[in-house]
């Protein structure tokens, strides 16, 4: 199994390690729920070094990404600005979702999923050939996500004054370099914070200094409940190649306003003309129980299915995402172990910045 540069730090912190798609990763350090609450109330940190960092370079980089990505990189003209996008196949199915960072006009950085690394990179190479771009994967980088209402001040406490002034001014979804370290104000929890890419050999030092600042180590378990509450999708569960972004509550990430010819556009146009067969919504279980992926959802407009589900530590209720018929309203039932339990379809996010969103409960 592959280990991240923070492997020893995890063991020292008492992590329970699991096999995550070939990577030995911490699932929790004792209590996943405590870790979840720490991120909502103060600050937690995650080792996400298993994610794939890829740099795209060359004079035609912008033209390439404009064709490759469903979201429009034309929105990126300030250095360090980040953009969330899906990468589609010709049928409009999602090959991967990623964040693209604009470094300069001949250099963009992509952070893609580790679970889809091989097919994602193969697709980048194949599509990039005609644009003569150089695709370079960064194995030598570690990534630490520091998230929570106190995350930024905890990170700032470790940075030189000049960088802190810059970070203070930096808006969400922007990033900057501090030496070799790339600090992005992004995340996967619904809280403020940073994702910090840095040389592998410096990762443990930063991790330990964050520990001294009182930042709680958090595992993949808490990462999943946090992202679910925050209305963020997980590749392989809430999106994949058999569904387009239009039926996966990701239409907001598709830039179709102008005539840009990105891969998959024709399929999306066609789906719009034919009428969307379904949509993705959030689900809140009325009573006790836990929602899981793959449970049947019964609505007056027809059946649907949950794609991700969990028990929300913030709401103390079971929540999920579900694919349901286009006409489905608020009322539904979920089948759990043969019983039909009342639930409500809602529009995610469920939780943002420590608070349950309006209309969710």
């Amino acid at each position: 199994m592959r280990k991240t540069p923070l492997h020893n730090a995890h063991l020292a912190a008492g992590a329970r390690m699991v096999d995550f798609n070939g990577w030995e990763m911490p699932i929790n350090y004792g209590s996943q729920i405590d870790e979840h609450h720490q991120v909502r109330s103060s600050a937690g940190m995650f080792d996400v070094s298993h994610m794939t960092v890829v740099d795209i370079r060359g004079p035609q980089t912008r033209a390439f990404l404009s064709r490759l990505l469903a979201n429009d990189v034309a929105k990126l003209h300030v250095q360090g600005k980040a953009l969330y996008s899906c990468m589609l196949n010709e049928d409009g199915g999602v090959i991967d979702d990623l964040i693209a960072y604009y470094m300069d006009d001949q250099w963009f950085r992509l952070v893609v999923n580790s679970t889809t690394r091989d097919k994602g990179l193969a697709w980048l190479e194949r599509q990039g050939a005609e644009f003569s771009v150089a695709v370079t994967e960064h194995h030598e980088l570690a990534i630490i996500a520091v998230q929570g209402p106190q995350a930024r001040e905890k990170v700032h406490a470790l940075m030189p004054g000049a960088v802190v002034s810059e970070l203070d001014e930096m808006k969400p979804f922007n990033a900057l370099f501090h030496g070799q370290t790339y600090i992005a104000r992004t995340g996967y929890t619904g809280e403020d914070g940073y994702e910090i890419m840095l040389p592998a050999e410096e990762a443990e030092g930063l991790w330990n200094r964050l520990l001294e600042q009182g930042v709680t180590p958090c595992g993949l378990g808490a990462r999943d409940t946090l992202r679910l509450e925050a209305g963020m999708h997980l590749y392989g569960q809430d999106m994949d190649e058999s569904y387009t972004p239009l039926v996966s509550a990701l239409a907001w990430t598709v830039g179709m306003k102008d005539e840009r010819e990105f891969i998959g556009r024709a399929a999306l146009e066609q789906q719009k003309v034919q009428g969307l067969p379904g949509k993705m919504l959030g689900l809140v279980l009325d009573g006790r129980g836990v929602l899981r992926p793959g449970q049947k959802v019964i609505t007056p407009a027809g059946e649907g299915i949950t794609t991700s589900g969990t028990f929300s530590p913030t709401m103390q209720r079971a929540i999920a995402y579900a694919r349901v018929p286009w006409e489905a309203g608020e009322t539904c039932e979920v089948e759990i172990r043969g019983k039909l339990l009342p639930a409500r379809l809602v529009r995610p996010p469920f939780v943002r910045n420590g608070k349950v969103c309006e209309g969710i409960l």
Partner: protein, 129 residues
Amino acid sequence: MMSEIPSNLRYRESHEWVRVEDNGTAVVGISDHAQAALGDMVYVELPEPGMSYEQGEACTVVESVKAASDAYAPVSGEVIEANGLLEDSPELVNTDPYGEGWLFKIALSNPSEVDDLLDADAYAALQED
């Protein structure tokens, strides 16, 4: 990580524990090892009193944040009480698996089944494998 395995209990390989009481009933729960492996408990679906189960039959669902898992009747009999505390505080299974985190009480229909269960040493050996 070493888990706690009280010597006065008997265990099933599927990680339930049994404490036989003087009146022919037994208290059933899941072991410290099992609760730690499952993670934070968020819901326990308990058997209804009056229901009868054969040894080895699934009768309880313990749901952690991570996953739903079956717990099995370690002995045959009729359920006489389910632990109502778990309805509001499923985390008792994590914090006190051999105490307040018990699952249900069962009237033994075949007390000799208890002899087939593992003692603490045998259960500890099982975990080392």
